[in-house]
Structure formats: C-alpha cells, structure tokens
C-alpha cells in the first residue's frame, strides 16, 4: 500500500515549487518511450520511473509536476497515479527498502513476528527509515511466493523463509552489500522500458553479491 498521507489538512497549501531536474538523457529516454504510444499520457508510468531515478529515489511534488509538464498531463492526474502504485516512493527511502509480506500465508507463518523483530532490530516502526539512511521498513501485500513464506522483498530481490531468528543475518548481509538505492532500482526499471532491453531487465548493478542467507531465492 502506498503510504497514507493523512488528510487532516485544514487549509489549502501553497503551490509547491517547480524544478527541472531531468537530464538531457532522461528527456531523451522519456521522449523515446512516449513515441511508442499514440498518446503521451501512456508514458506516465515510465515517466514517473525516470523521475524517481532523477529525483534521488523518490517522487517529491516537483517530480510529479515535471512529469506532468513534460507529458502535458494535469498535476492531479499524475499525482493520482503516483499515489496509487506502491513502488513509487512519495518520501525519501533508505538505501534498502525492506517490504515484508503480511498477507494471509505469511501472516500465518509468523510474518508479524518478523516485522516486530525487524522493528526492534532497526529501531524504527513500519513505514520508518533508520537514522543512518540504510533501511526503510514497510509491510507489503501478497508477494506471490506463498510457498516460501515469510517473504521479504528488497528492491528486485526476494528473501524467503524468514523467521525472527534469521532476519538479523539478512540485515547484516544487506548492510555490507554494495550500493543499492531506490534510484538505482528505478534506473534498472527504466532500462527495461527502453529498446534493446531484455525481458528480464537490464539492471545496471549486480545483485549477485548478495548471498542467499535463508533458503531459495528468486
């Protein structure tokens, strides 16, 4: 679920400042993707991925405005899209985004114990980011890998068969792992949308360094 920004705002807010952070390459990429569709509107999702890369791994209001301006859409429409999909980050994330599945099967297999252990281990609540900027912890809906519950998604990687006992190990591994920011994840997704990308995605980073600590991994 996208993070829920509580709507207890009582007065209209001033318009956020506009920025233009798209690099020339990013603009070229966006135009390339937009040229695949009959309407520019269709390039909204890729545009947001590019923005997520260009804006440091998340989508501040300025990023949404820039995508909307470049595609000729209204701001509220793009914000509606960005707030719907859970992989668009509306706030700054840690270097690793830990998304623990708490849907039925995982919950039965003790997902909440894993979450609580992680909260204790990291010193943040669900939705929070550690002060060193390493980890953001969230709950996720079904990750479609119930056979190996409890599952946790980190970027494009699944950690499976987690228990409160082995999560510490995962965190330690991740801490040591090479740079793996949401911006890089966004970049890898953008790459898959561009011509010449293979079906499985042409990530610009290697995830091979991460050793599987706890069972089979996708």
């Amino acid at each position: 679920m996208a993070e829920s920004v509580t709507s207890n705002i009582r007065e209209p807010q001033p318009a956020p400042a506009k920025e233009a952070r798209f690099s020339e390459l990013a603009i070229a990429e966006l135009e390339e993707i937009a040229s695949h569709y009959p309407e520019r509107k269709a390039a909204c999702l890729p545009g947001l991925w590019i923005a997520q890369r260009e804006y440091d791994g998340y989508l501040p209001p300025a990023a949404i405005q820039e995508v909307a301006d470049r595609l000729g859409l209204s701001y509220s429409e793009v914000e509606g899209v960005a707030t719907f999909y859970t992989m668009y980050n509306l706030r700054k994330r840690g270097r690793h985004h830990l998304e623990v599945c708490t849907c039925l099967t995982c919950a039965v297999k003790g997902a909440y114990e894993v979450v609580h252990k992680l909260e204790k281990e990291l010193g943040v609540h669900v939705g929070g980011t550690t002060s060193d900027g390493e980890f953001t912890l969230s709950e996720a809906e079904c990750l479609d890998f119930c056979g190996a519950a409890t599952v946790m998604q980190v970027g494009d990687k699944y950690f499976t068969q987690l228990t409160p006992d082995n999560v510490k190990q995962v965190i330690d591994e991740l801490r040591k792992s090479p740079d793996y920011t949401p911006a890089k994840l966004a970049d890898s997704i953008v790459k898959t949308l561009l011509p010449g990308a293979s079906e499985t995605g042409g990530g610009s980073y290697s995830v091979e360094d991460l050793k599987n600590p706890a069972g089979p991994m996708l």
Partner: protein, 739 residues
C-alpha cells in the same frame, strides 16, 4: 508551444450514430441509436434506473464508478448451428457504459437487480456520515433519494467510519466535506471535460481514495460552482450558501444572469426577501446547464445592506435621504429648466423595457437625441464596423453554432473572464467535436482554465498589433494560395507582420494553414473592442473572414448583460429602436461628457452605468461630474459614480423586476421578479415612465413591463411578435430580416 494539458476525446467515444437497433427494456420495445448507453435508452422508455456518476454532459467512457445503475442483460447468442437464442449475461451490467445493440433485452426490476442495488447502496453508505440534518444537500440529495427508493433500511457495517476535517475550504467559493464523498468522479470529470483545468483528481486510489487537488493546493477555477450542483451528495458545497437554508425553506424563480452578456439561464433561490443562491437552469442553446463563478457567487449585492432604499439628494456636499415625491419634483423641475439640454448615458445593465422607456423619455418627452448606452470601447456608429459590410452587428454565430466549427480563432480576448459561457462552448468544440483552437492574445495569464490550455497554437502579439497579425495571416493565405485574398494583405508580408507583432513567422504560417482547413469562427474580445483603431482591426477581421469564406462567422460579443439589447432599443445617439437611422443624430458618450465638462449641458441622467469606473478617459468623466451639470443616477448602491452625482434614485436589481434581456447572440430572454427588497425601490422603466408622465406624458408613460414589451414588439421589427408568452423559458433568438 502551449502545453496541451488534456487530450481530446477520441472520435470513437462520440460517434456519429446513424444505425438504429431494436432493444427491449422491461418489456417495452424501442428503437435506439446503436451504441447508445442503456441508461439513456431507459430514459427514452421512461424506465427509472438510479445512478450517481452518470451525467449526460460528461464524457461517458470513464463513468461506471458508482455501480448504482446495474441491470440484468440478455443478449442474443448465436449457437454453432446458426440458431440465435437469448443468453443472460452472468453478472449485472452497469447500464451507464453498456452500449445498446440489436436484440438486447434489459431487465431493470428483477429480484437480483433490486438486491444488487441494495448492496451497492450499503457499500456507498459505509463511509458516508449520514449527517443529513445538517447537510446543505439534504432534501435535494440524490443519495438520500436513491437510498430511500432503492436502499435497504439498515446496514451491517458497525465499524468506525472514516473521518476527515469538515468543511475543508477547497476553493474560494467551495467547501469540501471529504467524509460525504462517494467517489462518483463527477467533479473530477467536470474539471477535465468541461472547464478544462483538470485540477481535481482521485488521489490515493484504493481504500484511502479521496478527491483532491495536487498537493492540497487551492482549487482555482472560474467554474468551480458547477461542481456543487454536480455533486450527488453533500460533499462539495457552496461556502456562501452553507447553513443558510434548507431546500424547503426556499422559493425559486426563473431568471437570467446579469453578470455578462452570455445570458445564462439561472434560478434565483430566495428566502423571504433575500437571495440565497443561484443555480443553473438548463437552456441547451446558451449555457446548457453551467454557470460561471461570477454569476453563481457574484449576486450577493442584490440582498446586501448597502442597497439604496430611498432617493438620495446631495445638498451642500451632504447626502440626504428624501422621498420619491420630492425627488421626482426636483428632477422634473431640473428637466423643465434644462429645456432640452439634457443627455442620458447607460442602459447596458438594464432590461430592454428600461432601455425602451429611457429612449422614449429622451426622444419623445425631453426632445433630445443625446443618449448613448456605451461607456467604453468604440463610440462611433454601430453600423460601421460590421453591419455595413456583413449585415450584422455583433455575433454572426449563435453560441451553440460554435460547436460545429472546424477552427476557432480567439482574438484579443481573455475569453474565460469576458465570455465564460462562450469559452465553455469553445472548449466543448475542442474536447468533444474535434475543433482546433487558435488563441491570439497580447498577454497570457498564469491561471487555469484559459483558452491557451488547449489551444493548438498560441500567438502572443505585442499589444495593439492585432491588425498587423491578421494581415500577416492573410499574406500567408495569399502566398500559399490557401484562399483568395483579394489584395486584403496589400503592402504586408509575413516578415513585416512577424516583426511588428513579435510573433514568429512560423507560428503565423501555421495559424494561416489551420484557418484555411474549413469552417472558421473568429471571436474577438476586449482588446479588439477597446482598440484605439477599432475600425481598422475589425476591417482586418472582416478581410480574414471573407477571404476564408466565413463572412458570417465573425463574433464581437458585447460585455454587459444587455449591451446588445440597449443598442437594439435605440439607446444610441444615431439610431432609433431597431437601428432606424435618425435624421439629426445626438451626441455619444464622449461628446456628452465633453458638453457637461464645458458647462453646456444642464442635466445628465446616468442609468446604471459605471461611468467613473469604466470610461477610459477618466479625467473627462471627472470633469463632467465636477461641473455644474445636474447629474442624476439610477443605482443599486452608492458606487463611485453615484457618489459623484447630485441625485441618486434607488433602482431595482434584476431579481426585483420583470423584463427581458437580449444576450450577445441576440437571444431575448425573460427575467422574472423574485421578491421586493423595499417598496421604495423602483425598476428603471417605472422611474422613466413616472418622469415622462409628470413632464406631460407623450409616448413615455407605461403601465407595466409587459406593456412596454408590447410597444417594443410593435415598434422594433426584429422584436415583432415577441410576447411574454412566446419567449417562454428559453427565449427567442432574433435574426436580421435579410438573413
């Protein structure tokens, strides 16, 4: 290149339907156009299907949010052996997006449908606070009605409903109660389809879905009031009407908006003697059902405390309230003493009846032709700019005709401010009919909505260079042999035009090419009307229209509510009612003010014109008011002009009198009296008539507004045959006899 905020709807969504199909709804057989939504077909058959999100004027492709209009559908199915049998669709269908097809059988009252409706309503009411007693929509609420007619009596939902702050000030005039929203998307579709600013959208789609603006910014629109009427629950409410009255406390009167010359049909809802709110009234030819914010929220002056309730006389610099007998005595005395040295200005904000009585009083009783209704802009002969060449004065097209244009050129106009309803038609032509819009202005405002948001091409020229721009376009038409230009562009080249106007040569070329593609309408605005060389610009507009074969598609709409009617009624120095030329023309506004400033005018009567506020040459107006001329003003409140006068007479607003207005497309429409603020307030025609009677009658005495309308239809050829009855609710558009 302006950003195209919103794409046009695909033509496939608005197909020109010719084929008819046979369908059956609840046993009623009927023929409907193929592809028509079943909910509309059901309306034809008189079968009631409840709905919230469906709206005939909003795009239909993306409705079906509320699921209220579910029906059972049986469709013909061809078996492999060729036999056709009816098969029931396994699930109920949303009739608002279900296109009619041959042989369909629709059931709207089956047990399953009844049960489904109950279920849908139970869902919709899960988060609805049910605070109907304090909700302004209570009593006229589609959710209430449908819940009572189709809903279950109870709900199984016992958990906490979601809560938000009440009365969030979404826009200047609109408050938003998020709790009550049922997510029908009518308001979001309105901003996208109709007003064109697309500021409202669905955020956080899913369980937390809510309607909102981008990052909680204020919703700034010129048409925000319409979402209040569109909202099928009490989520979007008027800030000024909030908690003012319940629907059963109100009386309603049909009227016409007095804020601009578009003549929107409205309903005045009032309680006792105070105006509470304005709602749109359907008139397909004018405003369809929309209103602009100026019209919807701008009428608080009618019931304001500042209204004048007695005549006011200035003696020794002090204002003194006097009674009508005294006021009329003084006025008649002054008029007698003036012995013909009298002049009248104004009438554009008055009814046709007021204007007719005004000119009757001056021409037949006071024996003066020095009257003029025009306060700003071009003050020469009204026949000069267009009539002598094309046979019409202001608008060649009806408002509704603009929909059918291939290209629309908006020239020198902030259309959304000046002519909001024409703006909506232009937007409709663009959005639903595939028209191309070219916007040529000298300055582009920041705010949305505006024509520039969806114009294919925006030409921003240096102020005052309209004629050069048009000649540049003509020279391109001539050079590229797109039209026979007849030497209109003589002495002009593309480069010269580009240099003079500051518009790039390519843009002018593109504009010219777009204009040569088919039916072109030209809408000129304030910048043209107030242009120092008005005649030259209109000449160039005429050249362009004639060259492209659109001589009847020039539109120079007036701006005040009855600027058209005042001219029709002959409140002009050189024409009697019906544009009959006068042998000895009088003075126009500028000349009258000059005479007053010179001291050669004894009495000046200003009928509701804001001379000091609006007349371009302010020094002249001030000199006229400072002179010895006795100035009498009919006004609602103590405006700047009234403050500078000698005698102020309290006049009735449009809500307090009967009469007719003629809008910019020459549609004569009736207004009805809703209430009296005070018995001491008189409609303008009655003031003129009473003075005429005291001056010895003549043709200037009238008994009622209807009486005057009779005189008008007898005397003005274009208004011949118009009676209060024949005008009906939608008015009658008069046309030039030779057209």
């Amino acid at each position: 290149m302006p950003d195209n905020r919103l794409t046009q709807t695909e033509a496939s969504l608005n197909p020109a339907v010719t084929q008819m199909v046979n369908i059956k709804i609840d046993g009623i057989e009927l023929q409907v156009p193929k592809g028509e939504n079943i909910i509309e077909s059901a309306k034809r058959a008189g079968v009631d299907i409840p709905y919230f999100c469906y709206h005939p004027r909003l795009s239909k492709g993306d409705a079906a949010n509320c699921r209220m209009c579910l029906v059972d559908v049986f469709a013909p199915r061809r078996a492999p052996d060729g036999t056709v049998s009816l098969a029931k669709m396994p699930k109920p269908q949303a009739s608002c997006t279900l296109p009619a097809d041959e042989g369909m059988v629709i059931v709207t009252d089956s047990e399953a449908v009844v049960r489904d409706r109950k279920g849908v309503l139970e869902f919709l009411l899960i988060n609805h606070p049910l605070d109907c007693p304090i909700c302004d929509r209570g009593g006229e609420c589609p959710l209430q009605n449908n819940a009572i007619f189709y809903g279950a009596a109870t709900s199984r939902y016992t958990e906490e409903k979601r809560h938000f702050p009440k009365a969030y000030p979404l826009a200047e005039n609109v408050v938003f109660d998020r709790e009550r929203c049922i997510h029908c998307a009518r308001c979001t579709r309105f901003t996208e389809d109709i007003s064109g600013d697309a500021q409202l959208g669905f955020l956080k789609r899913g369980a937390d879905m809510e309607v909102g603006t981008f990052e909680h910014t204020a919703y700034k629109s010129k048409f925000s009031g319409n979402v209040i009427e569109l909202c099928p629950v009490g989520a979007l409410l008027s800030r000024s009407y909030r908690f003012k009255a319940r629907p059963w406390d109100l009386h309603s009167q049909r009227s016409v908006c007095s804020k601009c010359s578009n003549g929107c049909n409205i309903k005045i809802d009032y309680r006792l003697d105070s105006l509470q709110r304005i709602n749109g009234r359907i008139n397909e030819a004018v405003n369809e059902e929309w209103t602009c914010d100026k019209g919807k929220f701008g009428h608080s002056y009618v019931s304001s405390e500042a209204r004048l309730k007695t005549p006011m006389l200035k003696t020794g610099g002090e204002w003194k309230a006097i009674d009508w007998t005294e006021a009329l005595q003084i006025l008649v005395g002054k008029l007698r003493d003036a012995n013909g040295s009298v002049a009248g200005i104004g009438g554009q904000r008055c009814t046709n009846e007021d204007n007719f009585a005004f000119q009757k009083l001056f021409r037949e009783v006071l024996k003066s032709n020095d009257i003029d209704s025009r306060v700003e802009g071009y003050l020469g002969s009204v026949n000069k700019p267009l009539y002598e060449r094309f046979g019409y004065h202001a608008m060649g097209n009806a408002i509704a005709e603009l929909e059918d244009m291939k290209t629309i050129l908006v020239l020198g106009s902030q259309l959304v401010d000046e002519q909001p309803i024409i703006y909506l038609r232009v937007r409709k032509a663009y959005r639903f009919k595939g028209a191309t819009v070219i916007n040529a202005v000298s300055s582009v405002p920041e705010d949305s909505p505006k024509v520039g948001d969806f114009a294919q091409l925006e030409l921003v020229y240096k102020p005052g260079t309209e004629a050069a721009l048009l000649k540049g376009i003509l020279s391109v038409l001539s050079a590229e042999k797109l039209a026979s230009v007849n030497g209109f562009a003589k002495g002009y080249t593309l480069e010269k035009a580009a240099e003079e106007t500051g518009v790039s040569a390519e843009a002018i070329q593109q504009a010219a090419r777009l204009m040569a593609t088919g039916k072109l309408a030209i809408i000129a605005g304030r910048e043209v009307a107030n242009h120092a060389n008005h005649l030259e610009v209109v000449q160039a507009i005429g050249d362009l229209a004639e060259a492209t074969g659109n001589a009847q598609n020039i539109n120079l709409p007036g701006e005040d509510v009855n600027s058209q009617g005042a001219a029709d009624m002959g409140v002009l120095p050189d024409f009697a009612p019906g544009y009959a030329p006068l042998e000895n023309p009088g003075k126009n506004t500028a000349q009258i003010l000059q005479a007053a400033a010179d001291g050669s005018l004894k009495v000046l009567w200003v009928a509701g014109a804001k001379l000091l506020e609006k007349f371009p040459n302010r020094e002249l107006a001030q000199a006229a008011f400072a002179s010895d001329t006795f100035i009498v003003v009919n006004e609602l409140t103590m405006t700047e002009t009234a403050q500078a006068a000698d005698l102020v007479l309290p006049a009735a607003s449009f809500a307090e009198k009967e009469g007719t207005f003629t809008n910019c497309e020459r549609r004569v429409q009736r207004i009805h009296k809703a209430f009296d603020i005070s018995l001491e307030i008189k409609p303008d025609w009655l003031i003129f008539s009473e003075v005429a009677t005291r001056m010895g009658g003549g043709g200037g005495s009238f008994f009622s507004a209807r009486d005057i309308l009779k005189a008008i239809s007898a005397q003005v050829p274009a208004y011949a045959g118009l009676t209060a009855k024949s005008l009906g609710d939608e008015g009658v558009r008069w046309n030039y006899p030779d057209k």
